[in-house]
């Protein structure tokens, strides 16, 4: 279940069935989604490296 606020009322999002066209689109990652994944993985790698560097510095400090 999901909720939305409209006209100061909480409404429950209802179950939906997709048309064949929407189904096709739904199961294909968009270019934006692929870009976001690439950026996220790059961030993760960078931050992990930074954490490891900080840990190494702490060990040798």
């Amino acid at each position: 279940m999901g909720y939305v606020i409209r006209n100061n009322e909480i409404q429950v999002a209802r179950k939906v069935t997709l048309t064949p066209e929407l189904k096709t689109r739904m199961y294909q990652p968009t270019q934006r989604q692929q870009d976001m994944k690439a950026r996220m993985l790059k961030r993760k790698k960078l931050l992990t490296t930074q954490i490891r560097t900080q840990e190494s510095n702490a060990i040798f400090a």
Binding site: V4, A13, L18, M26, Q28, P29, M36, K37
Partner: protein, 178 residues
């Protein structure tokens, strides 16, 4: 999961009431508080959904305080196929404020907003990619609380499925885990 400053805790059902006695979220709008109460009802009082809803709390190790709530579960509301469902996301107001018209970003997260980290890095990147690999669940689905939030989630890569809701305000947004 921790990126040096932020730590995400998964709260067990038995601990959750005590946890929210300790942490009082600063809901800036009464309706958000109502939605939060409903999301807790889903976790405690609704037998057919409570096993698929899990509360995650984000803790700021630097400020030593909780700063965000996520309720993550599963749904079959979108096309009768299991998707990871972000039922509720709340970020404390002072972690999303805009200063000098700049987005409130965190160096420790690679200069992104906390909500982007929670939705993209944590839900899609950590939970989603594992779920896809191990269980074959390939979608993250959510329904934004309003149009302004829909715009923000669009910038994170979530795609509105036009016509998927009973009206345009209730259209689902999905992120197909690449």
């Amino acid at each position: 999961m921790s990126f040096s400053r932020f730590n995400i805790e998964i709260i067990s059902q038995q601990d959750i009431r005590a946890k929210f006695e300790e942490y009082k979220p600063n809901f800036s709008k009464p309706k958000i508080e109502e939605i939060f109460k409903k999301t807790l009802e889903l976790c405690y009082d609704t037998p057919d959904t409570n096993f698929t809803n899990v509360i995650h709390l984000c803790y700021d190790l630097q400020e030593e305080r909780y700063c965000a709530i996520l309720n993550i579960g599963t749904t079959i509301s979108v096309d009768d196929i299991v998707s990871i469902h972000v039922e509720f996301l709340f970020v404390e107001p002072d972690y999303r404020k805009h200063t000098n018209e700049q987005q409130h970003t965190f160096e420790e997260l690679g200069f992104i907003k906390l909500s982007e980290y929670l939705l993209v890095d944590y839900v899609v990147g950590t939970i989603g990619m594992s779920s896809k690999r191990m269980l074959g669940i390939g979608l993250v689905a959510l329904t934004p609380v309003n149009d302004a939030v829909r715009e923000i989630y669009t910038s994170y890569g979530f795609d509105s499925i036009a016509g998927s809701g009973p009206n345009e305000f209730e259209d689902w947004m999905i992120f197909n885990i690449p």
